[in-house]
Every structure is written in C-alpha cells, then in structure tokens.
Symmetry: C3
Subunit: 341 residues, 3 copies
C-alpha cells in the first residue's frame, strides 16, 4: 500500500514528498524497510529514530527522519492499517453453508458463512453476516446475532443469546451448567440449571472461555465488554458494559460487576458481590467484599492499592522488624530491675 | 404446571384454595406472576413478601400472602420443579446414532443417542442410556458407562473409564498425557504416560476441565465428586468420593484427596500431598503440606483458617506497627544516656 | 517382554539367572508379579524391598532380592520400557487421510495420518510423519512440521507455524487473537492481531492451552520447551528453549522468558518483563519485575526464595508480635512519668 493511500485511510497528513510502498507493519524494534511502524508519543522519539522502519506514523511536532504520516493518535492509525493487513475473511471463512453442516430443519440461518462440520440445533437462529468456523455447535433455540464471528469449536448451548458483532474465539463454551448442588442423603444432588446466557452487542470472548448458564434467569455479559482467554464466568453473574477482564480471571456465582470494570490476569472475585462501575483490580487479586465505584484494588484479600502497596513494602521489612522488637524487649528486661519492679 | 401438580411432585401441602398455573421459575427478586419461587427459610421472609412471584414454596410456619406449597426444604423442592423446566433431553440429544458418526467396527455402542460427528475408536464401549453431544471423541479401548451425558467436543482418550451417570460438560479432556519428563543430554525427554483415568459413578465434570492419565496405574476421581469448570487434575492424583472442587482449581501430580473435600475457586494443591477427609480449602489458597482430616484452610501458604484470619487482620496493622516500633526505638535511644550506657 | 530383552533395550546388565516375562509397569507400591518397577536410587531401597514387583530396575550396588536389571539411571530405563507399553500409534491414529477430511485443494499435506473430520485450509502445509487426531483444524497458510502429533480438537489458526516433532494435546488453541484494544468514543476498539505464533521443534503443549498470535511479528515458543495443561501465553511473548511451564500458568503480553526457565503451577508473569535464563519460579507466584538469570522466586509479589521464606515464617509470628509491641508501649508509657517527661 502506498504511504499516501495510508494517509488517506487514517486521515493523516503526509510529511515530505516521499511516497514509498509498504508491505507490512511491525513494532519499532522489529520493523524493516518495507514496514510501517508508529511512534505513540514524544517519549518514544528515540526509539523511533533508531527504528529501521520504512515509514512511520508520528504525532505532531516529531521529526521522523524518514517518510511519515502525521496524525493525532498514531497507535489508533496503526490499528487502522493493521486491519488492511488482516487476511481476507472470505479466505478464512468461505461464504456459504458447507455441505457437511448439520442444520435442523427448524433452524433459521441467515449467516454469511458456515464452516465444515457445524451443527445448528432445532429452533436456533443465526443472523445475517455472521461467520461460523469449523465444528461450531449452536444448540437448540439458541440465538446468534448479526455480523458475529464464532471461531472453530465454539459451543453455544441451548437457549443462549448472542447480540450483534460478537466475536468468540476458538473452543469457548457458552451456556454450560452452573456449578449448583444441594446436599442429599446419598451425596450431592444436581440443581438443574434452566436459565440462559445473554451476551450483548460488540462483546469479544477469548479462547477457551467458559460462561455458565444461570440456575434461573440469565448470566449477562454487557455490551462492549472484552473477556480474555480462559476467563470463567459462573452462573447468574452480571457483567456490565465495556469491561475488560484479563486472562484466567474467575468470577463466582451471582456477583454483579458494573460498567467499565478492568481486571488484570488471574483475578478471583467471590460470589454474591457487587463491584461498582469503573473499578480496577490488579492481577492475581482476590476480591472477597463489595467494592465501591471507582476503587483500585490489589492483593489477597484485595485492598485499596495505596494500602496494599504499603503492606507489601512493610512485609519486606517484617523479618528484620521482629529482630528489632526482640532487641527492644531485651533492653526493657535489662532495665526492669533498675526500676524496682 | 398447576400448583397442585407441583405440590404432588414435591410432596408438599397446598396452602389455601388457589391453584394457579405456573410457567416458569425464578429467584424471589426476578419472579413474576407466572413464576414459582421459593423462600429458603424464615430469614428470607421479607424477601418473600416483597416478591412478585405468582406462587411460592415456603417452609412451615411462614405466611406467603399468596398461593403456596408448604415443604420442609423449599430449595430442594424448587430444584425438583426446575427439573420439569429443563429442555426435553430428546430435543437436545436426539435418540439414535447419527449417520455421520464414525464408529469403529470393534466398538460396542449401546448408547441412547450419539450426536453428529462423534468418533468412537477401536474396542471402545459406550453404555446404554448414554448420550453423546456433537463432535465427542471416545478413544480406542475407552469405556463409558450407562446413562452418562458427554456434551459437545468432549474427549475421552484411549483406555480411560467412566462409570455410570457421569456428566461431562463441553470441551473437557479426559486422559491427556501427564506432565512428565526426565532430563536428557539434548533437553527434556518425555516419559510415556501409559496409565489411564478412572472416573466413578455420578461424577460431574464441568466445561474445559483436564484430567490427565497416569504415568502408570490410574488417575482416579471418586464416585459422586463434582468438579467445576477449568479444574486441572494432574497425573496419578486420586480424588475421593463426594468432593466439590470449584472452578480453576489445580491439583498437582500424585496428591491424594480424601472423601468430602470442598475447595473454593483457583485453589492450588502441590504434588505428592495427602489431604484428609472433609477438609475445606478457601478460594485461591495454596496448599503445600499434608492436611489432616476435617481441617479448614485459607491463604498462601494455606493455614488453618483461624490463624490465617489473624494474620490477614494483623497485616493491615503492619505498616503502622513499623512506625510504632521506630518510635519505641527512638525513645529507648533517648533514654540510654540516662541509664549510664 | 522377557527381562533379558528389556535389559538389552535399556543397555543394562541382568542380575542373576532368572528371566521372567513381564507384562506391565507400575510404581513400587502398586506393582504386582507381572510388573517391572524401578528403584530410582539407594534412598528408595526399602520401598524396593517391600515392593511386590516381579522384577526391578536398580542402580549399581543395590540388592533387589528378585530378578533385576542393573542400570546407572533406573528411572530413565523405566521410561524406555514404558515406551514399549504405549499403544501402537497406528491404533490411535490409523494411517492415511480419512475420507471425511476437508482439505483445501491448495493445501500440501504429507502427513502420515489424518483423523476423521479434520479441516485443513487454503495454502496450509502438514509435514510428513505427522498425525492429526479427529476434528483438528489447521488454518489457511498454517505450517505444521514433520513427525508432529496434534490430538483431537486442536486448532492451529491461519499463518501459524509448528516445527518438527511438536506434540499438542487435545483442545489446545494456537493463534487466537491477542487481547488488544484501544479506547474509542463508543467503547474499546479492537486492534487487529496480524502476527503469528511460531513453535519450535520438540515442543510439547498440554491440553486446553492457549498461545495467542502477535499483534505484529511473532509469539515464540523456543525449541524443546514443555507447557502443561491450561497454560496461557499472551501475544508477543517469547519463551526460550527447554523451558518447563506447569499447569494454569499465565504469561502476559510481550514478556521475554529465557532458556531453561522452570515454573510451578498457577504462576502469573506480568507484561513486558524480561525473565533471565535458568530462572525458577515457585507455584502461584506473581512476577511483576524483571528477573535476573539464575534467580529462584516465590510468593506474591515474587521475591528471591530466601527472602520469601523469611517473610512467610515471620508472617506467622506477626499477630503475637503486635501484642508484644503493645506490651512494650505500655511499659514505656508507665515509665514516662518517672523520666520527667
């Protein structure tokens, strides 16, 4: 793609006269003469100067020393260029319904592309523009919206509902039974999980994610939320809009997560909690109490980050502090006779 | 379903003359006029009164203010009603062997239903009444018992054995190789994992669970145990009967877990440990030593919960305590000249 | 197999004249008269004497009291015997391309065995000697090397590259999109992930592992490395050669892991870190800073193991220490009037 075309694509201004052809995109450190890269902001100017990239996206006021495009937000413009490098969806997901697909006669399928060996159950609905990879299973009476992408081996169990423009990565399971049992005379008795999962528009679920169906009612993932690989969402959880949940995090049953909540990886949130809007939770934290909106937490048990950092720093001084305590006790014991005790 | 029919189903007593028709089940907070809900015990009486449910299951002595059924254990009765709302298994798993199934000529399959695209290997056995979802793989010489349900994409590798009434949720892998290597001159050398997995009757495995085959011998899951999504059980682990292991917990190789052990989510149990009967382990705990029967543990390293809670409370006071220590040392230093030191 | 044949196989010396036939392998505790077991070293001599094994592999200088083979490294020899007990690969993975395979006309497939219902995309390459289990998906332009084994349901997405003799266990997903977004006016905007995954020779990936494709460039797993079940490797991570990463560990984006790094289970490594060669990280640790080569870390935040153990031991004394501190303060307050303050 010519640099001038890229400038038009991203709404940027070409710097200088050179208009090279670019064939790839890379980080500043890895880019070569055929690649476009980007300098996110002025702090990266030195990395930009050192890069071997054939052209750069730069913020205003930065001299790139090579062909460049000036834009206000270079990382955003870079992402727009990346979209041009992504494989043609028709190559990944050839249009049409593959002859091997097993689609129930009562299913209503308007999808753009269904890969080999998909199974669509009775009464299911798959919306227009949606692409299903190989081996996807859409259960009875499930409903997948428009312009979704379900990668290979995804399972959407009976009755579950996905909105529009939902992306689900390979192997993810939507609608498995929640983990619910009652004690019985001969061991635990299974509580039927007759609720569903409801996933909002523009949600993206990573690979090997589990979102369990509700006991009754719905497990909900709000519009625009993004869940990373191997996240687990238990039955009856409600996640708000525009959250970002990092890999391997687990949210236990019936907890309610607000809008715009962000977590690091491997976070654990206990059951029946309320987490307010805009909360940020550090990686590996263990949240065991309700969290007010806007809080930032770290640690296990998760605490406000100021307190958590103070404790972490204090912990490193603890072994020596015990020795100092013992020394003080020794001095006090020595002094005691003098005080006539 | 008429309330009187539900009363007969659960062995309860109809309260009053009203006999409405109910079409659904819901929590007290979410229920509407067509729903049955339940008041678990007297502490929930206020929530029951506030509910919009058309009818309630109530314990003796509680006035529901609407059509109701009196039972000793309302949650249990509710679970029985939920079973009536679950989809017809024949709709989810149509009876018969699908024409696309690849079943080896030497396999013995008595299953009630095998979904599309299942693969059953040489010498495998699948018992009567069992239902397999789409894409299930039962390996050579594997043995699946009677009245099991294996959801879509489940893999049971060669030689592994499942008892009766085992439920395995989507995407779970039974019998992958244990993680075993020996150092060699050119890197790590794989130790062949020639043992199997043996799963007892009435076990339920969540979605995307991994149970590894043994190096030699068996990895065992005892009858009646329930494992939540994304649990990992390493090679040669033995889990006792009627355990409940919550999501994303990992149990390392050769550990032996007793009967009736309960863990929270994201627990880690180290290798070659012995965990006694009835042990309870809190979420995110890290167990690195043997645990006597009946103990309750929290934290990392996991400690008896009394001690763990004392430490957690003390931790929050630690930063201030270091300041207090420093103050005492300052006073002792000031006093020192007076004492002729 | 006759004991004399096993001796020839492992390059050991038969002890005594007996040459029994052995049919299985087991641990010392579980072995019976038809089994071969092994005594790893002299410390296990008592367990060896107590074993019911029909024959033993023993180190020099140890009297087994039964038919035996003397070898320098008994565990290694045992592993060689286990390889003889493993099922015939042709029974697990019948040679040939199954008639149900959907292989694009432009794919180049030299594999020894492709199981039922595999899907191989446009321009993909699968090397000679490789075996694919049922339902494996090899995406467009992906490249799988020679003598690999990809178990059931494995997904290798477009463009990704596997070296030779790579083993991938069931359900693993190679090449899902990295977790990358930019803030936008209407929520988070997806950054296309146009890089690939590159897996070196002799790598083994456990079951239900996720290795994400890079934003640009490559996510790399170095030759000889072994990753256990449910490990997560984020986009643009580089793992060196001959590492061993235990189950459920997560490595966040762009971190660089050296050669020969070993982690326990459930470890978390933050993003953009550099972990040196030969680092060892204990289970459940949380690594949030760069780690120099050769270090051994435990805990959260992960610290050098000496310091981590001192802190863990000190933590158990903390509640009592707060009481001792309070006592000292009480004595100092009592003394204060006497000192004229």
């Amino acid at each position: 793609m010519r640099l001038s075309d890229i400038a038009a694509l991203v709404g940027g201004r070409l710097l200088g006269d050179a208009d090279p052809e670019l064939t790839g995109a890379a980080s500043l450190a890895e880019a070569g003469p055929g690649d476009l890269s980007f300098v996110a902001d002025a702090r990266r100017a030195a990395e930009g100067a050192a890069s071997a990239a054939g052209a750069l996206l730069v913020p205003p006021g930065l001299d790139p020393g090579r062909p460049a495009i000036v834009v206000d937000r270079p990382y955003e413009a870079f992402a727009q260029f990346l979209a041009r490098l992504a494989p043609d969806p028709d190559r990944l997901y050839p249009p049409g319904v593959h002859p091997t697909d097993v689609v129930d006669a009562t299913a209503v399928v308007a999808a753009a592309a269904i890969g080999p060996y998909c199974v669509v159950g009775a009464g299911a609905v798959v919306g227009a523009g949606t692409r299903l990879g190989p081996h996807v299973v859409v259960g009875s009476d499930a409903n997948v919206g428009r312009d979704c992408v379900l990668h290979a081996h995804v399972v959407v169990r009976e009755g579950c509902r996905l909105g529009d423009r939902v992306i689900v990565h390979a192997g993810t399971v939507v609608g498995a039974d929640g983990f619910g049992y009652l004690p019985g005379p001969h061991g635990q008795v299974k509580i039927p999980q007759v609720g569903i999962v409801e996933i909002g528009d523009d949600v993206e679920l990573g690979a090997l994610v589990t979102i369990d169906r509700a006991t009754t009612g719905r497990t909900v993932i709000g519009a625009g939320s993004k869940l990373d690989n191997q996240v687990h969402v238990a039955h009856n959880v409600r996640i708000g809009r525009c959250c970002a949940i990092s890999a391997q995090t687990g949210i236990a049953g019936s907890s309610v997560i607000g809008d715009g909540v962000v977590t690091g990886g491997q976070v654990g949130i206990a059951d029946h909690l309320v987490i307010g809007d805009g909360v940020r939770i550090g990686a590996q934290a263990g949240v065991i109490k309700d969290v007010p909106a806007g809080a930032t937490l770290f640690g296990y048990p998760a605490l406000d980050f100021h307190e958590s950092f103070r404790i972490t720093a204090a912990l490193r001084r603890l072994p020596a502090a015990l020795g100092r305590l013992r020394a003080l006790e020794g001095r006090a014991a020595t002094d005691a006779p003098k005080r006539g005790k």
